[in-house]
């Protein structure tokens, strides 16, 4: 029996695949060029970075009261924004859910609104609300609420859509109206997923709330910006450390709650 030769290790790409690969490589290279990426500049900036780091240590400890007050404000903004966002997400998610809303124009409108909330960054919402309601944490809370709605409403709608249709059919067979299907079958089944999404939203809002201060929407970002603008790197380091502690604490608490609810 003649010995069979082994197949080639790699298949030769088709001309189209080869052209696509070359195109993708060119896009990546042009992106680096367009972004002004320069190893030489990075190298030249290293001493400056080392100097800033040196000035950051040790972090300033004489203004902890103000830092903590700003930190608390950030957390309040995140919690209130998330809570409002989750509450308003519920009706929006029901309207966006095919199983619960048979009217496609309403469904399309709800989905478009959710997409708008999600695609516009929270910083842009903060700029809009600062103009609308003035500087301060209220503008930041509204920005976080809208940002949460864009995220939570989409995942709530998906969670509602994915639930087993059996209990819903049983309730429909018992003469339940659509509100009955939602409250008695869909929401209880989707609840763990919705709680997990809400906790993720709280984490996201805590991180988001930190930077909203950069545009005057309250919270920790304001402290950080003032310290950086005044080249007071030790104070900036104190703010960064406080932000780190808050974000890690919220993430840990949220993860523990998620494990308890879903696990």
């Amino acid at each position: 029996m003649p010995e069979r030769t082994a197949p080639p290790r790699l298949e030769r790409p088709s001309p189209l695949s080869f052209a696509l690969l070359v195109g993708a490589a060119a896009l990546v290279l042009s992106s680096f060029q367009g972004a002004g990426f320069s190893l030489a500049e990075l190298w030249a900036g290293l001493p400056q970075m080392a100097r800033i780091l040196g000035e950051m240590l040790p972090p300033a400890h004489d203004r902890w009261d103000r830092v903590l007050a700003s930190l608390l404000e950030t957390f309040h903004m995140a919690l209130a924004g998330t809570l409002l966002g989750v509450l308003f997400s519920l009706p929006l998610a029901v309207l966006a859910c095919r199983a619960l809303n048979p009217s496609w124009p309403l469904r399309a409108a709800a989905r478009a609104l959710i997409a708008l909330f999600r695609t516009v960054p929270d910083l842009v919402w903060a700029l809009i609300f600062v103009v609308a309601v003035g500087l301060g944490p209220f503008a930041g809370t509204l920005a976080l609420m809208v940002d949460t709605m864009g995220y939570a409403a989409r995942f709530f709608a998906e969670a509602m859509e994915e639930q087993d249709k059996g209990p819903q059919e049983a309730l429909a067979a018992a003469g339940a109206p659509r509100s009955g299907l939602l409250m008695a079958a869909v929401l209880p089944a989707a609840l763990p997923s919705m709680v997990a999404t809400s906790l993720f939203c709280l984490e996201k809002a805590t991180r988001g709330g930190v930077v909203l201060g950069l545009v005057g929407a309250g919270g920790m970002g304001m402290e950080l910006k003032v310290a950086m603008d005044l080249f007071n790197y030790a104070e900036a380091a104190a703010s960064i450390l406080a932000i780190l502690l808050l974000v890690v604490a919220v993430e840990q608490a949220s993860a523990a709650l998620r494990r308890r609810i879903i696990g």
Binding site: D164, A170, A174, A176, S179, G180, A184, A189
Partner: protein, 261 residues
């Protein structure tokens, strides 16, 4: 198609009353496949009627069409004196509330307690108060507990449905149907997912409660022994049409076997 066997022998107890269910020329197609082809069936009040047939014979589709959980393409359906095909919205929900439906896969809400699942049976008459046992008024909770007692599960009232065994879940589903105070029960292979002992027990429970309350029952099954033991009458579907209709006592094993041939 096997020979249609319609025996003239009188039905077993109880004596036939006015028809609770009348189906004439019922047709249902899924795409190019005609699943029901002109089904004609009448079930008198208080009768327990078994619907048998091979997989794909159209049993589940027929039962679902009766409450318009599946929309029929042609034919007439009269359920409890109502023209089911003409009803819309609230009127259709009112008719559905008068008919208990027991599904093959119990279809309970897994995260809710057995008691909450039973109160769901009253959702058409009690509205939001039946969404959860904690919201239900005292009388509604007491009635739900009585329904659970009738299926022998009162001690597990607050146990989550997802923690119940298959047989227990199906009993809760029967209790939910009883909570509707039904005049008729439709059961789609209610014991298909249970082991033989649990299946016989659940089937006996369903038949016993229905007889006690004078409820008309149409149930589909693959178990010939359940059809002959619990039903007054056996109707066989084959290829989407009635192929066989006779009193259970008169059904010969050979005729029953031919339905699945």
């Amino acid at each position: 198609m096997s020979a249609t066997l319609t025996l003239a022998a009188p039905l077993a107890a109880p004596p036939p009353g006015p028809d609770d269910l009348r189906i004439e020329g019922l047709v249902k197609r899924f795409g190019a496949t005609e699943v029901l082809r002109g089904v004609r069936l009448r079930v008198p009040r208080g009768q327990l009627c078994a619907l048998i047939g091979a997989n794909g014979a159209g049993k589940s589709t027929l039962l679902r069409c009766l409450l318009r959980l599946v929309e029929p393409d042609a034919g007439a359906i009269e359920v409890l004196g109502e023209d089911a095909r003409r009803l819309r919205g609230r009127a259709l929900r009112r008719l559905r509330a008068r008919v208990g439906f027991v599904f093959q896969r119990h279809n309970l809400v897994p995260r809710l307690s057995a008691l909450s699942n039973v109160t769901h049976g009253a959702i058409a008459r009690a509205g939001a108060l039946a969404w959860h046992q904690a919201l239900a008024p005292r009388a509604l909770r007491a009635e739900a507990m009585r329904c659970l007692e009738e299926v022998g599960l009162a001690p597990l009232a607050l146990r989550r449905a997802e923690a119940l065994s298959g047989g227990q879940s199906q009993r809760v589903a029967i209790a939910r149907a009883l909570m509707q105070r039904p005049e008729m029960i439709l059961a789609d292979e209610p014991v298909a997912s249970l082991d033989p002992a649990a299946g016989r027990e659940v089937m006996g429970l369903l038949a016993g409660l229905a007889r006690q309350r004078g409820i008309t029952v149409l149930f589909s099954t693959h178990h010939m022994e359940h059809a002959t033991a619990f039903a007054d009458r056996i109707v066989a579907l084959r290829g989407g049409a009635v192929a066989f209709d006779c009193p259970a006592a008169a059904a010969s094993p050979a005729a029953l076997e031919r339905v699945f041939a």
